[in-house]
């Protein structure tokens, strides 16, 4: 009893300055309310959020198009000269359109190719792994929330930490080589091999993100009415058939949302790969976001206009994916209403 009253008193003591501040804010806002009426207050409440949105999201979005049509290395728009579609032309100039390495911006096309294969392989594998995990977690398990948490743990880790953890495991004296050594396999420097680094980035990003998709799929599985399964069991339906005829169709809307969500995230892959491989060796794990970052900021020959043009192309892909997602969401809603 006495401890709760103590914490209560401590809490109110801590909150006192906040309450005072809120009272002070109330004085000018009352005046505003008198002038605009209750309806006008909505604008006041909305203003800070929309202002920050406007300055840091909408404005850059618009300026980006202007940027992509200017040249030079300066960052301020006033110091940049208008070049029209030159940056886009530069991205699309190739001597042989079937060979990306013959393009003027071969790094861009390497990044596009890497990102394409990364997205396809990572999303496909991750959704399979997540679905299997969700199906297993949906069984009648003891301590299910514990197991659910196990697969969710890496999702919370920062990408930099994820990158470092795996860099440490994949290096020459690392845990992977140690494990293989037990089977008589000689240590190998995985992160200097073009093919293995690519595979490593896929594996690491699956490890880091699958928990999120497992969670969403599990929620979808749990929403499937239990009596459907009971009825199927009574009819003696085979498990494989139950999965094909009940689970998969009823999970389909969820599965589609998860696939599109995973695609959107995979296209933007950067942080963990940047720490794990730095895009190398060579350009074997150079992905689009890193190309934009390096073209815009990091390289000695930086070219913000070119980076802006590349980011707009990437944005177009994301818009298409998001529209697909919205379309699925709307169809799902209509179904729900019916």
């Amino acid at each position: 009893m006495s401890t709760t009253s103590l914490t209560d008193r401590l809490g109110s003591l801590l909150m006192a300055p906040v309450h005072l501040l809120m009272r002070i804010i109330d004085i000018p806002l009352r005046a505003v309310q008198k002038a605009t009426g209750i309806g006008g207050m909505a604008t006041v409440f909305l203003a800070p959020n929309m202002l920050i949105f406007g300055i840091f999201v909408l404005l850059p979005l618009v300026i980006n198009f202007v940027y992509s049509m200017t040249g030079g290395t300066a960052f301020f728009l006033s110091e940049r000269n208008f070049v029209g579609a030159e940056q886009y032309q530069r991205l699309f100039t190739c001597t042989n359109y079937l060979d990306p390495m013959s393009c003027q911006e071969d790094a861009f096309w390497a990044a596009v190719g890497n990102t394409f294969w990364f997205v396809i392989l990572q999303v496909a594998l991750m959704i399979c792994v997540s679905l299997i995990t969700a199906l297993i977690l949906n069984r009648d398990l003891a301590a299910r929330s514990f197991w659910r948490a196990v697969f969710f743990f890496p999702v919370l880790l920062s990408p930099v930490v994820v990158g470092l953890i795996w860099k440490w495991i994949l290096q020459r004296q690392g845990l992977l080589n140690f494990g293989l050594y037990q089977f008589g396999i000689e240590p190998y420097t995985w992160l200097t091999d073009r093919n293995w680094t690519f595979i490593a980035t896929i594996g690491v990003s699956i490890w880091a993100h699958m928990g999120l998709y497992t969670l969403i799929l599990l929620a979808g599985l749990q929403a499937i009415p239990k009596d459907l399964y009971e009825a199927a069991e009574m009819d003696g339906t085979k498990p494989a058939r139950v999965f094909r005829r009940i689970t998969l169709p009823l999970l389909a809307p969820n599965l589609l949302v998860v696939v599109v969500l995973a695609l959107i995230k995979a296209v933007q892959i950067f942080d963990e790969v940047y720490v794990l491989t730095g895009g190398g060796p060579g350009t074997s794990t150079l992905y689009l976001t890193q190309y934009i970052y390096e073209t815009g900021f990091a390289s000695a020959l930086r070219n913000p206009g070119l980076a802006a043009a590349a980011s707009i192309l990437m944005g177009l892909v994301l818009v298409v994916l998001t529209l697909i997602q919205l379309g699925i969401g709307q169809r799902g809603e209509k179904k729900g209403k019916r």
């Binding site: 809120m22 209750i38 404005l59 979005l61 197991w147 697969f151 020459r172 944005g315 994301l318």
Partner: protein
Amino acid sequence: MGVASRFILRRRGGKSWHWTDIVTWVWLIGGLIIMFGPAVWLTFSSFKTPAALAEFPPSILPYITSQATVQGYDKPLQLFDAKMPDGSTRVLAEVRRIGLVAQMVDPKAPGEIVRVNIGDRTPVRSVSFATENYTTPFTQFDFLRYLWNSVFVTVTATLITLIVNSMAAFALSKYEFKGRSLAMLIILATLMVPLSVIMVPLYSIISSLGLFNSLWGVILPTVATPTGVFILRQYMLTIPDELIDAARMDKASEWQIYWRIVLPLTAPALAVLAIFSVVWRWNDFLWPLIVLSRRELYTLQVGLSIYSGELNVQWHFILAMTVVTMIPVVLVFIFLQRFITTGIAGTGLK
């Protein structure tokens, strides 16, 4: 064992083992090892000395080789378990090594030199935690500064996010006004504008506002999260309008209604958003990397990546600082993961 295993391995209807049960448990145990193993391995490694880190095959626990100062010798000598010709083993200190033979002395009776074949001796090792891996980066490098920067960015951004987002959510859920659906549409549309698409122009805006190389340049672009507005609005829609109307009857101002009625009732949703925001801001990497170029301004994530990218990586420090960076997230995981998992399962957002 009996009761515990029966509880853990219980199955519906007490049927006998089916192959799917085996697959389930292999998958779960494998998942447990794969999901936690790497982080646990990293934590163990972070307590090793540089010499122990360079070892292959590596040991799991951090060992150091024991040394002893022996009378008559200036430097501490390394201790070995030496097998004697008569089959017994003695702890001896190595004086020097000549070819395949080591000259050793008994630390207790240093007078007599014993010659031992180097194949017959193994170093004496003991478990020891190299805590200097943790203290040195804080005292001699800037990591204390990075830690403070990270905490500052996380706390400030989260507080501003909560206030700004809840105000917007209040306006969007409890008022009828022209342009409400337009505002809602803009907010939802920004869900699909990731940083990688706007980083070049955003950088120029930050620079023209004088926020380049400032922690505020990291904080401000992140605070108006569409996800936050969305979560809070959905929650506020469930607050009955009658409460607000009653307060208006009592001459409460709109700000008072927001502060004294709506915010306390939204506490559960605010808590979820606060947890999300802390994890997001703590983990942010690309944007701080662009905005912060002075070393003393780095956040932990940026500092870690810069130090780990250097030519001769001091892994023992990097590992220790990685563990420090992991701590807040692990705490959130242990104590608050239930909120997050139900929050994600409910909204499908992260």
